[in-house]
Amino acid sequence: MSEQKNSLEPIILCRDLNKWFGNFHVLKDVSLEVQPKEVLVIIGPSGSGKSTFIRCINRLEEHQEGQIVVDGIELSHDVRNIAAIRSEIGMVFQQFNLFPHLTVMENITLAPRFVRRQARRDAEGIALQLLERVGIPEQARKYPGQLSGGQQQRVAIARALAMQPKIMLFDEPTSALDPEMIKEVLDVMKELAQSGMTMLVVTHEMGFAREVADRIVLFDEGRIVEMGTPEHFFTNPQHERTKLFLSQIL
């Protein structure tokens, strides 16, 4: 399956990415290609640079060396390029980052209305469909603070989808959730993967990785240690670091 995808033009291309926080070398020569409709799960210990890596892709962090090309556009200091790339990429955060002063409906329709200049009515129609897709259409008029964590994260997913992105980035989407609520969020993500969305997911949910991922990447100390299909990863890991990591979390 992944061999088939490799023949296509990659939607994300990273070449020799390097990044420092002050003197701390966070990303070291990271090179990676992501094919359209591919689900890439990124795992690794904390501080390994996996979050920083996906935040570089929509330029919430700036890389200092190397090249990132998203859908044919290279990330540079050009503001127009950044805006173009960000509107192609949806992002879901660990802490949801919903706008607490707006209702669920307003959270979802805000960017389409003010960035994409959609009419209010159109945007609300789309938002309602998305809320149905994530399973909480009845919460549209509530404020984020009135929802449970799982519901909030599903709203965050709907909010990102409302911009009709080609790529979705997930930065530990279930880490801040109560165990009872993790499943409802993972279910939405699974459905999204099945619908053909290109997804980069930073997570510790190995079950999800095994079931949904096309490829899994293990980050450690700012570099890619091992990359492969779930089958390869869970049954026949090569690198010592991978074996150690898996032995500790499984």
């Binding site: 929509n58 919430l60 805006a83 960000r86 509107s87 990429i89 949806g90 992002m91 955060f93 802490q95 980052n97 919903l98 706008f99 607490p100 002063h101 707006l102 209702t103 805000l110 960017a111 003010f114 960035v115 404020y143 984020p144 603070g145 009135q146 909010r159 990102a160 911009m163």
Partner: protein
């Protein structure tokens, strides 16, 4: 059963969870409440009793004073001045329309955003109705009769006043011949003593009947003069009364020919001083003393020319007056309470009707975007509309120019507050954003401005606005004092507001900004849609506190010569000796007005915090 769980390590609850019950009753009736809260321990009981005794005593003192001896005439006789200052009397309708507009907007807002503070806005509406509209209607109460004490030590005695065209002025000489009058008629004269010693002397003399005024012949001439000292005439004869012991001279009513300064001068025939040393009252009707009595008459002199200051004249503020008030309870009701309510009833009903109409329109239409926009737009437009309405146009017949120097009283207080809030809010937000800017020059400029203004007392800023602004550019000389004070207050408020807003900006988590950027919003959209709404909501209490301070600080412009609420009351009670004994009443009234408006503002702020869309309670 939980009880049996001690026997066995295993316990499984029944499938159904028990129905929720009400919490147990913890207090028993009002008596139980009293016992629990007020008399729970001996110390508490003593504290309660002591507090009740002291506060009861204070309340009783205030109440009995305000009914038995307070003379509220100082308020309701000067309602027009307190309401709108020296604003040209025949243009008062413009102030009334301003008040009407504000009351209507308040009503509309109450209806539309009622869930925020319906009760409070209603209270504010009612109170504003009373204190804004009513003073203006109240102005139609006839001015009190003025008694000028004609003393042997002053010759001639001159009363200087500002008159308007077709105003009817009546004056009369009333010699004091009855020793019995000493203890009653001269009450004001005694009250007005310049020192304690003088007061005691006069009071004793009056009590003993030895006050020296009765046993003398009085030969007095009272004349009405214009500003140049020319006699005014009735028909062909000069407008004058000659009073002798045989013929008191009667009353004379004169219609004034134009707007301007006038004098009534009383000249004593000094040919035989020994025989001519008694006292008399010059009783004047239809004259408004206030404008002529203010210490700084520049404002009026701009309009009406220089006030006359004849060599021998005693400016009225130096003369002695007495105001005939009431001192007992029955008269308190019939002379103070009844006329007040009679005179305010029209305004009260007009204001209430406006308010309720506005509230109904707002309430019925609050689901309509159009009505909500109208309410918001109404407030935005209110500022310019009110300023144009009050200022008028040069040479216009229907809206003649009314110089801002004549604006005063509660009108000026509310305008300074309203404009200060409306202008300092955007400036303060911009300064706060500027201070957080990544551009060094913008950042340093804003920081310097904020810290400079915050490091200087408001009173200094107001003096600077008065004295220094004209130095910057000759073009600025023409900006009049009222506008300069508005600028000063606005800058001061903006600097503090900027720091409050900056505090709000700092608490917005970075995740909010990242989320907005990840959705493709540019920095401007992120700021206006995501950061500012949350930051401002978080600092509502601080901002409202700032606005309340601004409202109270407007009283400082009195120091640089504007007559807002405090300034005008100060001038009324100091400048019009008639009212000099009643400063207590006047300042208590002022305090009540300030308190009511401040309290209403802070109540609205409390409700904004705890309710409404995205309130802090809902922020997670």
């Amino acid at each position: 059963m939980p009880g049996s769980s001690s026997d066995s390590p295993f316990y499984v609850a029944p499938l159904e969870s028990p129905a929720s019950r009400r919490p147990p009753v913890t207090t028993v009736g009002p008596l139980g409440w009293l016992r629990q809260n007020l008399f729970s321990s001996p110390a508490n009981a003593i504290a309660t009793a002591l507090t009740m005794f002291v506060s009861g005593w204070v309340l009783w003192q205030i109440l009995s004073w305000s009914v038995r001896s307070a003379q509220w005439g100082v308020i309701f006789n000067n309602l027009r001045l307190i309401g709108s200052g020296l604003y040209t009397p025949d243009q008062i309708w413009r102030v009334e329309w301003t008040a009407a507009l504000l009351v209507f907007l308040l009503g509309l807002s109450t209806g539309v955003w009622g869930q925020v503070a319906r009760r409070t806005l209603f209270a504010v509406g009612v109170i504003l109705t009373i204190i804004v509209i009513i003073p203006l209607i109240g102005a139609r109460i006839p001015e009190p009769r003025i008694y000028l004490l004609v003393e042997p030590q002053r010759n001639p005695s001159t009363l200087v006043f500002l008159g308007y065209k077709d105003q009817e002025v009546t004056f009369q000489i009333d010699p004091i011949t009855d020793p019995e009058e000493a203890s009653t008629s001269l009450a004001g004269y005694i009250e007005n003593a310049r020192s304690r010693t003088e007061w005691f002397t006069r009071a004793r003399e009056a009590r003993d009947g030895t006050l020296d005024f009765a046993d003398h012949t009085l030969l007095l001439t009272a004349r009405l003069l214009d500003a140049r000292g020319t006699d005014l005439t009735v028909g062909d004869a000069p407008a004058q009364i000659i009073s002798t012991p045989d013929d008191l001279g009667g009353k004379l009513t004169v219609k004034l020919p134009r707007d301007g300064w006038y004098m009534i001068q009383v000249v004593r025939d000094d040919t035989n001083k020994a025989d001519n040393a008694g006292y008399a009252w010059l009783k004047v009707d239809g004259v408004e003393l206030f404008p002529s009595q203010i210490d700084h008459v520049e404002a009026l002199e701009d309009e009406y020319g220089l006030a006359p200051a004849p060599d021998q004249a005693v400016r009225a503020e130096q003369s002695l007056y007495r105001y005939e008030g009431t001192q007992n309870f029955a008269e308190y009701i019939s002379l103070q309470v009844a006329p007040f309510f009679k005179n305010i009833s029209t305004a009260l009903f007009a204001g209430l009707a406006l308010f309720i109409n506005g509230a109904l329109i707002g309430f019925l239409g609050k689901r309509e975007r159009r009505v909500r926009r109208a309410a918001l737009g109404g407030w935005l437009l209110a500022g310019p509309v009110i300023l144009i309405l009050l200022y008028g146009f040069e040479g216009s017949r229907s809206l003649p120019l009314v110089s801002t120097r004549l604006w005063g009283g509660l009108l000026l207080t509310i305008l300074l507050t309203f404009i200060g809030i409306a202008a300092s809010f955007p400036i303060g937000v911009l300064l706060a954003l500027g201070r957080r800017s990544t551009l060094p020059v913008v950042k340093w400029t804003c920081t310097l401005l904020i810290e400079t203004i915050r490091g200087v007392p408001l009173i200094t800023i107001l003096f600077m606005a008065k004295q220094i602004i004209p130095f910057f550019s000759p073009a600025l000389v023409d900006i009049d004092l009222t506008i300069r004070m508005m600028i000063g207050m606005t800058l001061f408020s903006a600097a503090y507001l900027a720091e409050n807003v900056r505090g709000g900006l700092q608490i917005i988590p970075n995740g909010q900004i990242e989320a907005a950027r990840a959705l493709g919003m540019n920095p401007a959209l992120t700021m206006t849609l995501i950061v500012l709404p949350q930051a401002l909501r978080a600092v509502i209490p601080a901002i409202m506190g700032q606005f309340i301070s601004l409202f109270k600080d407007t009283s400082l412009v009195a120091v640089v010569g504007l007559y807002e609420l405090v300034g005008i009351v100060d001038t009324i009670t100091k400048g019009q000796p008639v009212y000099r004994p009643y400063q207590r009443e006047a300042y208590i009234f002022v305090a009540i007005v300030y308190f009511v408006i401040s309290y209403a503002m802070s109540d609205v702020s409390r409700r904004l915090e705890s309710t409404g869309a995205g309130s802090t309670r809902r922020l997670k």
